[in-house]
């Protein structure tokens, strides 16, 4: 296994922080499992990118963006819930991805590899971080409002359809960033575990976001350190570190 480089650490920490922050909205909108499934929509994009010899993150972002627009378009015309549509699109994406991805590339696409981050990956990761950060800053109030009550937001004049689409696009950016850290298979855990660990003990909204972000960053740092020490792949070690913080929160809960 290659050594972890500075690029990997920066992308890992930025990704861990932002994805965990965004995860607070995901779990409180009861989209935890749907978001996990949603991340698999990236697979056909990753597969096409690998075959074409371009950065898999770009492929993932393209597939997730297209997936978000398709989900949004169908949702506007039917009475199906977001998680149901994610279920449909995710299954189809997974099937297409598995069909076109060469078997030799499957493990790397599913598990990712933080040790192979190049300068180009790094710059793309920074770009995604900036986009996600701007989206969160700009939309924080409205994301909070639809998380609290989509119905009340609607009657207060918030264009909930557009906000939901931006939310899915934010999820697309978060997942694309996270795929570099943990791979397609495990990226959902970055969205779910730090946020739910924080939710168990947070006393207010501010501490919820702060704690989720802190757990995300510490999990990535601990996971990378353990990976270097024990010679295991970083992705699963990061998730196991998140699990540890989940247990800490559970035990700390009064």
């Amino acid at each position: 296994m290659e050594a972890i480089n500075t690029y990997s650490i920066i992308i890992g920490v930025l990704g861990g922080a932002l994805i965990s922050f965004f995860g607070v909205f995901v779990i409180n909108r009861r989209l935890a499992l749907a978001a996990d499934a949603y991340s698999h929509i990236a697979l056909p994009g990753v597969a096409v990118a690998i075959l074409a010899g371009i950065d898999p993150t770009l492929g993932a972002l393209a597939a997730l963006t297209i997936g978000s627009f398709v989900i949004h378009a169908i949702q506007q015309k039917t009475n199906l819930y977001t998680d149901t549509l994610i279920g449909v699109i995710f299954s189809l994406s997974l099937a297409i991805g598995l069909l076109i991805l060469p078997e030799s590339q499957l493990e790397s696409a599913l598990l990712g590899d933080l040790t192979t981050i190049t300068r180009a990956d790094f710059l793309l990761g920074i770009g995604l971080t900036v986009v996600l950060l701007l989206l969160i800053i700009k939309m924080f109030r409205r994301f909070t409002f639809i998380t609290f009550s989509e119905q009340l937001a609607q009657v207060s004049g918030v264009k909930t359809g557009a906000v939901n689409l931006l939310f899915l696009l934010g999820l697309a950016a978060a997942v694309s960033l996270g795929i570099k850290v943990t791979g397609t298979l495990l990226v959902g855990s970055l969205l779910i575990i730090p946020a739910s660990a924080a939710q168990m003990i947070a006393r207010n909204f501010k501490s919820l976001f702060s704690l989720a972000t802190l757990y995300g960053v510490l999990s990535v740092v601990a996971g990378i350190a353990l990976s270097a020490l024990l010679h295991f792949p970083p992705g699963p070690m990061i998730i196991l570190s998140e699990g540890l913080f989940f247990c800490v929160s559970f035990l700390a809960k009064k």
Binding site: N28, R29, F140, R141, T144, F145, T147, F148, S149, E150, Q151, L152, Q154, V155, S156, Q199, A202, R203, N204, F205, K206, S207, L208
Partner: protein, 227 residues
Amino acid sequence: MLSVKNLSVDINGTHIIKDVSFEVKKGEVVLILGPNGAGKTTLLKAVAGLITCEGEVKWSEGVKIGFVPQKLDFQQNIPMTVEELFSIVHGIKNKKEIEKYLSFSRASHLQSRQLKELSGGELQRILIAFVMAENPNVLLFDEPMAGIDIGGEETIYQHLQHIVKEHGLTVLMVSHDLSVVFRIADKVICLNKTIQCIGAPKEIKDTMLEDLYGGDVALYPHAGHDH
């Protein structure tokens, strides 16, 4: 303030309301009565522009509508305080200002409480204050007092009366609490898919209500009895 002409709403080929016409003047408190399934909530949503409808709904210029829905898909489990709800969603950072809005529904004492600790009635009070913080000049209330205990309900109606007068608000309200609402309503609309009767409370006869609800009901004031 509001002119509604031949308003009809069809959902999946079924008439929910049909040919409804009425007018509301500035500062009027209008009570919408009717049995379950009469289309009361649909009428409120239609005048608020939340659902598509046929006919004409014309508001005066500069109208800002505040809508308090009946049932809410409330995410109560979020670790969030009442104060944070106002400061984040409405951008009100000043604690005194938040307290002012909470006092509208007698909920100032709940300012630092977590949402998940609140009872159904307390949440309803927060919701009313939350909508008031949007500084509307028209309030649409869909059974605003559902889930609030009788004593509290009486208090909130008294407050509502006070707020309506002080701020010159126009109110359209769906409620079953005839005796309490009687005191603040200027106009009553009896609805059962179409308008059955309309007029000042004193013009609404008990027989009209019996026809509307199909039972022994009466609209009567119970004077005094302040809490």
